[in-house]
Symmetry: D2
Subunit: 481 residues, 4 copies
Amino acid sequence: MNDDARPAPTPTEPLWKGRITGAPDPEFFAFQRSLPYDARLLPQDLRLNAAWARALGQAGLLNREDVSRLEDALADIGRTLLPVDAARGDEEDVHTLVEAELTRRLGDVGRGIHRGKSRNDQVATDLRMWTGEAAPALARDARGLVAALAGQAKGWLEGGVIFPGYTHLQQAEPVLAAHWALAHAEAFRRDARRLAQVKEAALASCPLGSAALSGTPVAIDRAALAKELGFAAPSANSIDAVSDRDFALGFLHAAHVLAIHASRLAEDLVLFSSREFGWVRLPDAFTTGSSAMPQKRNPDVCELARAKAARVLGRYTALGATLRALPSGYNKDLQEDKEAVFDAFDSCQGVAHALAGTVKGLVLDAGRARAGLSGFLLATELAERLAATGLPFRDAYAAVARAVQALESGAAADREPDLSALTPEAWRALGPEFTPKVTAGLTLDAALARRAATGGTAPARVAEALADVELWLADTAKART
Amino acid sequence: MNDDARPAPTPTEPLWKGRITGAPDPEFFAFQRSLPYDARLLPQDLRLNAAWARALGQAGLLNREDVSRLEDALADIGRTLLPVDAARGDEEDVHTLVEAELTRRLGDVGRGIHRGKSRNDQVATDLRMWTGEAAPALARDARGLVAALAGQAKGWLEGGVIFPGYTHLQQAEPVLAAHWALAHAEAFRRDARRLAQVKEAALASCPLGSAALSGTPVAIDRAALAKELGFAAPSANSIDAVSDRDFALGFLHAAHVLAIHASRLAEDLVLFSSREFGWVRLPDAFTTGSSAMPQKRNPDVCELARAKAARVLGRYTALGATLRALPSGYNKDLQEDKEAVFDAFDSCQGVAHALAGTVKGLVLDAGRARAGLSGFLLATELAERLAATGLPFRDAYAAVARAVQALESGAAADREPDLSALTPEAWRALGPEFTPKVTAGLTLDAALARRAATGGTAPARVAEALADVELWLADTAKART
Amino acid sequence: MNDDARPAPTPTEPLWKGRITGAPDPEFFAFQRSLPYDARLLPQDLRLNAAWARALGQAGLLNREDVSRLEDALADIGRTLLPVDAARGDEEDVHTLVEAELTRRLGDVGRGIHRGKSRNDQVATDLRMWTGEAAPALARDARGLVAALAGQAKGWLEGGVIFPGYTHLQQAEPVLAAHWALAHAEAFRRDARRLAQVKEAALASCPLGSAALSGTPVAIDRAALAKELGFAAPSANSIDAVSDRDFALGFLHAAHVLAIHASRLAEDLVLFSSREFGWVRLPDAFTTGSSAMPQKRNPDVCELARAKAARVLGRYTALGATLRALPSGYNKDLQEDKEAVFDAFDSCQGVAHALAGTVKGLVLDAGRARAGLSGFLLATELAERLAATGLPFRDAYAAVARAVQALESGAAADREPDLSALTPEAWRALGPEFTPKVTAGLTLDAALARRAATGGTAPARVAEALADVELWLADTAKART
Amino acid sequence: MNDDARPAPTPTEPLWKGRITGAPDPEFFAFQRSLPYDARLLPQDLRLNAAWARALGQAGLLNREDVSRLEDALADIGRTLLPVDAARGDEEDVHTLVEAELTRRLGDVGRGIHRGKSRNDQVATDLRMWTGEAAPALARDARGLVAALAGQAKGWLEGGVIFPGYTHLQQAEPVLAAHWALAHAEAFRRDARRLAQVKEAALASCPLGSAALSGTPVAIDRAALAKELGFAAPSANSIDAVSDRDFALGFLHAAHVLAIHASRLAEDLVLFSSREFGWVRLPDAFTTGSSAMPQKRNPDVCELARAKAARVLGRYTALGATLRALPSGYNKDLQEDKEAVFDAFDSCQGVAHALAGTVKGLVLDAGRARAGLSGFLLATELAERLAATGLPFRDAYAAVARAVQALESGAAADREPDLSALTPEAWRALGPEFTPKVTAGLTLDAALARRAATGGTAPARVAEALADVELWLADTAKART
């Protein structure tokens, strides 16, 4: 397959030539280098190196002037190289890149910073710092979805928009459209909370100062270092610190759950915007057509949202399988963690933005929604009314079932019976239990109103739930400032 | 494949014959029934029903006497059927079983309890309650592994036992055996914390009272009900409540991470107990032999621990893939959640118990461990000493690398050079930088002692870390009483 | 979690006490024993042992009489224990069970059969034999689905039943219902072929005679032995033979693909039987209701079919992750292969049977299907007609798109425009290119008829495709006799 | 996360503006476009378009001159754009790119080629063509690994190199090093065969001519078209053809199995090149060092090989989960297939090349290997000798086990007993069954020689196996010319 003709970069001098003679095989070198993706950690690695320089300075291992020159050089590297063009560098990885750039700028002073630390503790620290920013970024994206859903819920609640609630994709009971929107919002609120735990886990302990595996030999203040880099504490065990990737797998799990939630919302939208359901129209800016069929309006956003949940699951699976049965200490297998984490983040962010835009712009046709309601949608309400007269629920259920079957078999093919439209006589014919007291006022609104316990679809409850979500949005908006 | 000759149970009357005529196809009925595994939720379902009966009573929908009779009957069902023999019942699922048993005992009173609730909210509640117990049970198992490791660490620290620390499975630097044990303990401590979050998530919101999807039509106090069943609050949205399985996937994630940690400890033990590493002997009670090779001592526990991490990953994958793109509301696909959760729990518990027993009983041969140390294990320590004289670390690294190569090429095939055993003359021959000041006292103990920052392998640091773990064990032991 | 109160079996004497002192820890013994599931291999293990006895006889290592007694005893074990009640035995695994039963019956003669073989080569051989039967069994199930689909296709083709073809779940072009059914049939035909390759791979090479890993020390004729057990040849390398599980993972892959196909058919049926699509009614014998909502008809079969594809994927993931990075030779991790394979088989068989029954019994309402067709469904046909006049396709596409937009914006809210019902005047108003020559006879039937290349939905092509499938069904039916 | 500052490309005019008003949201457009990865299909798409132009010509729908101009323009596009720089184009996907380039070159003639086909059938065809080349390319890589292993096996067989065979990572029985190498070779030979089936499946049926889903409306000869593009036949059903991705999942499965095999070889090499096993030295060109520890020689190739198997499993999982429960017909979710397939290919190819180089260059120290053999490695051979005297195998096993235990408990701590070095007196003391006839000549060579059945480690058998592999290598080399 010569179809992918990116030439391999010329191997640059790696940092590790200690006991190895001769140049690495170029294909092998290209195979094992990580700069094409770990360059994304450059901002973190620069902050890490600056903090390390200061720590060495405080420990008396670098003089004040050298610390200052290192800080300046690191800032300059950031100015020069960010945003990173990963295709550019020839170095093996981001740590080698930073060391090389420092050496170019400062000679021996630059070469001196790599003391008492190792790529093992550096990469673990960098990735934790990155994850500590990525998790709240995704939480904000989840919040954006909540805001979009709450915005629509507000309008639909005011409009009293009703559509069918489903179980098994069969119409089950009527619900407020706002209640449906808030169901999805609830899931994304959980994501925001879960991602806060992920951030906390990532920043709970700072590996820097663990060196290769046994702890740094230089007498630095790890607690101060950890604090400076935004961590709660230094890691408690150096062997564990360099090979622990729980935080990365935890991030993938949280991203996966977010992606699942997005995929479920997306599936609902694919259905509701189909011609058959038909009460939702996706905004043009988030819809595609067909190159062959001029009449098509395709919900590509939603379909990709479904697929990305599978993609993130694949990333989770890959990292989980990689970690399994690894011997303790750093092993090169761990290098695969970064692409997994970055890709899951990008996938979720892409989905969240596109889906939030879609939700904001979608139009719900309340008339079509109501027209699509099954005439049997009040069967459970009816059974409940019978039960309220003292009939055991199982008998009430059976009576309604008999009525539904009788109505169905007697109906004309093109006209579905509607429980809310039967005359008292029609009811009487269906059974003596269907007294006027039971069947009077059997309406959608009455059924909704009866679901008045916390969390139910009664308008008053939904209004409360919406208010609660709006309060949360306000609180989390404040938290960001 | 007639090899699996379990006869299908005769279909019992299901609860849902409403609009369906005729008997279900027997093979289909067997295919879709869940009693063989959801019977495990019987204790939870009995508690749920008792609480529901009381809630109906408080709402004035059942009289005091009937509530009392229901409570008694539910207690009697527990006495009669627990522990459950899943092969016994013919019912479709655990909820049908409870309703059938109540009806057998109480007739119409028994049939009356199924009002205002649905199997959808019941099963979600039951599984949350179960998970709320399973998570702390696994946390206790993780604690058991910490205790076993800490117990061994204590002895090894007192004995000053040293063995090689590895990266890439190559000897890297010397570490205390206790430091290695505490590295694994650290991972299991994280598990205990993660599982506490899983418990909290499972019991955060009580679905009961959501009914099929739109909320219960009966006027019960959901907040009191949630509290009685051990939940923090009632669920906020009924549609979300019946189809949310985040807590189950979160449990699988936490179980998976625990299983990964166990598999990594297991892998170390497989290696250390091999003839080639050879300094660990597993206890006979946790070792198997070969049916063909009389001399074998096989670490089956550890190998199964490795495999179970893959198994739990498979369960996670299955549930994640099941949830993806499900339309909102309850769908029968969700029925697959239970086997996944139960099997992950059983797998982790089996691993944790067997591995804790193995750790407790293993014997470490300190002499063999020390005899197996590479003579080059102090290379990093030497480079650090050079760096401490003011040489840039990269130059120090290069000087040591040259020395290692020179010693290696000059060594007799059967005798490995040992950096700690060179004479001052030998050092002088390797380079002018290797002054007596640099090379004197280049010992394992000196190298260990220098790793004295927090989290390092210096004996004083390891003693502190052990004390911290012992304190945690004491605290968590108290927490259980 | 004391909720699962199956008492652990008392450890029986294992076969491997060689160098191990004392009894195994009971919990560990229960954790590592496999009889509860590998008992399913008893038929295979009995055949294997009988063949081995004969091979030892032919090699002069057992006398004729002992061979005969062993054969009789093995047959007797089959008569006594099959079908297996896995809960019964206390032995460690199926091989120990067979050896124990032989010893009970024949004393030393029974104990003598375990010579020159090992559980390592036995279990690999047993599982290959089992897979060699399971794969064609699943192929027959796939064939059953093809037959059910072809049966319906025949009727629908005769009735000229049309429904919408979808892309992105949006109506795209009209298709014959028979064409849709045969699309799914095509997928299941591929399954049958794939499973035939799986069978071939399983029976390609016989591990028996590889002993623990280095090859059997007894001078038996492995080629004859392989042939007698149904294999193409003996395995070529003993180390590979005892640890190769490619055939098991290949089986899981094929089962997974079959399950995916079933899940896609199931998804179509969930949609088509929803009230909104509404032209398919599932048979009562394969439909469930709701315990709360009397009017419900739920497609549980289809939902479980969807979920089982995720379950089988989980099994594949688990075995793949288990095999990764295993050192060569047998490792206990491999023990996990069996539950994965058995469960995937059972899941697929359950799905295939239930879904075939569902397909056979479903009723398609041709009138409702036709009534549900979008009036724009002929847009592509119209564009093609324009292109046939010489207009570049992109211009034709644009012209039709303009027409569709114009019609849509001009339409009354409750009446969708229908391209096939426009008058020549209406066409003229839409653009000069819409000449009567282009727009005359713009009907569903004309559109179908034009898709007349191989594989298209033109009735003649579908009839040919159906005939081809029926021929295949006849051929494969013969193959089974 | 502003750390990834690739600016989104400006949306170019998509092909599908039919019924959509206004420009797509730029972020959404970037999210859903596939050119950055499907540009890799450009060679296939150019061939496809040329074949399609000729087919339209043969059907009389394009004149000869236009066909010729299209062919020339397509060839020119290839010359200009290949190898593809994916970052360059702004188009939505590779099909849009080709149509845009044709239009730039030929105006209306270029725009005319998109008639009777759709991106749905094009992308399915392109990816099948690509897979049809990728599978044999991977098969050649597998063959390269077989060749490298066979090359080493040849030398080791001539040198009579022995090392321990393992089960459970415990020394089990002696094996020839060549036998070990050929075990891995056997696995890669299976890969080559499996990949041949994958190629066959990919090229079994050509989707082109299925159009969007119902079949092309133009009267082309699909059989000729399929043949010209290298397929066995045109697809049999248009709905199935555009949404079938079995071939892609089958490719991922085969790549996954290959990656598993590589990971197992890699794991053996990590172990064998550790200081503790110590008889293998990896070539410098495929070894890395440590940036902190000057003495390190790290087997990064092997560790990455382990991790890539997990990565490919993740890709399989993602595609499998994506396909599950998709409704029939094309859905945008399918777009995710390409990155999965490409990445699996690249990962496997990278592993195969690096690992083949590693195997070719590794040096096995036969002396260290032999020195590392356990003195108990002949225990099974001894048991077999006892059994050959007529003792039931279980009694022979027990006798040897007793002897091993007695020797072990009597041995000095630093000297392991060696069964092949005991005097007749020492044997006598261990039990009366250990007669000189049984124990004489108990050597490694005798043990190897006895494993003389097909597939065993006896030198004669290994020589035959090697000859068979060499013949296969010669045959497959011929097949490529």
